[in-house]
Symmetry: C2
């Protein structure tokens, strides 16, 4: 046989109609046990696999969830893993579309739409809320990690301000009072963390000090140099994400500033980076698995249960204490 077997080939071999075969293979009710057995056997022998394009086209429902991600982002990797298994459980397929140097969010989303996904799960989307709003008018969208104030966009996120607050609480309980914050730049996520820092510091009666940065390691190195050179250096530094924290720690290391001896450092995301024994960074964990599960549930509840009200699920992050923080000297 040269071509892949078609439904018709299986049907011919068994001596029934293609309709029966289709029903059997999808486990639909109707066919008798006998027919079932024979069809299954024939399909097995021929190595039949349905043509996804054809069945997608014929089926009214697509049962596909589109996921927008950045394949370079390890946090997204964790999410995708969990999304896959949860989607599986709910009977959905997953279509991945990644950002690259020359594929921006708009383009990656278009790919997903072309696949006729029934709903989109956007991992930390950075597009303007207006774009997301318009998108959500066409198709159910759930944003993970990024808050979107639009009545149609579902959101699953971790309470960034609470996470930052917990980290600061930890530092404060260790006796720190001069705590700087290395910023994550523009972007919705960074803004939320900055806000959390400002609020917590105000509440504690300490003065805030925000050092500019950008969620990259280089940004961290720059911020670290600045901080290390300050005459009256803070005793602790909270960073907007882990990469930033790694950069900061590196700059400190090179400047002879001990971590956590001279300065304590906290990151955010609890990425695999933070867990590296080499780095051993105290960080805020966002529970990626739970976020992924909730996002899939949100999509599925719109599709299968006709939910129309916006859902916003906010998870409480959890601080993971490691070796980069210690009592104030």
């Amino acid at each position: 046989m040269d071509q892949r077997p078609r439904l018709e080939d299986v049907a011919a071999r068994v001596g029934v109609s293609t309709a029966s075969v289709s029903l059997v293979l999808r486990g639909a009710p109707g066919p008798s046990a006998e027919t079932r057995r024979k069809v299954l056997a024939a399909a097995g022998e021929l190595g039949y696999r349905a043509d996804r394009a054809a069945s997608l086209l014929a089926r009214r429902r697509r049962h596909q969830l589109g996921v927008l991600l950045d394949v370079r982002n390890p946090f997204h990797a964790e999410l995708v893993e969990e999304i896959h298994t949860e989607a599986d459980r709910a009977g959905y397929e997953v279509v991945l579309s990644t950002l690259t140097r020359d594929r921006d969010e708009r383009r990656a989303v278009e790919t997903l739409l072309d696949f006729r996904c029934e709903a989109l799960i956007l991992l930390g989307p950075d597009s303007p809320a207006s774009f997301l709003g318009k998108l959500a008018a066409q198709i159910p969208c759930v944003s993970i990690g990024r808050m979107v104030r639009d009545a149609a966009v579902d959101v699953v996120r971790s309470a960034d301000d609470v996470g930052v607050g917990a980290a600061l609480g930890h530092l404060i309980s260790l006796g720190h009072a001069r705590i700087a914050f290395v910023d994550g730049g523009p972007g919705a996520v960074a803004a939320a963390r900055r806000r959390g820092y400002r609020r917590a510091m105000r509440r504690a009666g300490f003065t805030a000090q925000v050092v500019p940065g950008d969620h990259t390691e280089e940004g961290g190195v720059r911020a670290g140099r600045t901080l290390a050179a300050e005459p009256d250096r803070p005793t602790a530094v909270m960073c907007s994400n882990d990469r930033l924290a790694v950069g900061v720690m590196d700059a400190f290391l090179r400047a002879g500033v001990q971590v956590p001896g001279d300065v304590s450092v906290v990151g955010y995301d609890d990425s695999s980076l933070a867990r590296l024994a080499h780095i051993d960074l105290t960080s805020v964990n966002q529970d990626a698995p739970a976020q992924a599960r909730n996002a899939v549930q949100a999509a599925v509840s719109r599709l299968d249960e006709g939910r129309t009200l916006r859902s916003e699920i906010v998870l409480v992050p959890r601080l993971t204490v490691r070796g980069s923080t210690g009592p104030r000297e």
Copy 2:
């Protein structure tokens, strides 16, 4: 309008047949400039986007490349990025299918087949060669990174033994003679590197010392502890990959062994990890972009140019020297 517009809607609006619209939208020759203009305008106004499932089904050719990857692997991320842009250039779409905890290679490949991809690009596949051979009999397959001795499987890889040789050459030129190798465990890639180490050591007239490991950071930590405790410790350590090297360096750090003062360490992959200023690891670079481009070319040349002879492209890796290596004390 409730539904997504169809080809027919565009055609109706312009007052031509669906055939003309289809032709125009795909830039096929035939339609006049005038028709083109009007169709394009109408399609724009309606926000028309072709249904991928339908066009896939109707088209004989699919123009889709399937990529098997592990979304958690940063090296794969680099490759995917480049594959995307190269595929674009060649006029192909990319379908991603990732390994997860409960999606093994077989399952992920099946997804790709269901999408009716025309060729598969497998990133460091770990399936037995027999499986890959059978797969390649159905559909063009190119394996990146992993050597597969099968007449039907194309291979794009970096010469691991040469890479290891270059690293050892560097160490030897720094005066090292007792150079241990931390192994990557079973798996085709690890085997090639181990072989390269053994050969280079033999050639240099030194005795090989292979410490077991497994391409994870923990494995590196274990190996590092073992090495640090040795009475007559080697002065340099070559690791089967970067993660391993990071683990080894960590164990050394904790054991008070200076890097590169007491021991030089080299990794493999030149991953983003190695570039972290904090880690600053001398490592072997595999030129991911070139591998990706060649893999796409290999697939495309089978599909579009009717190539049938096996192609094996071996790239020469390049050593990137950083701060983890230095002269023997």
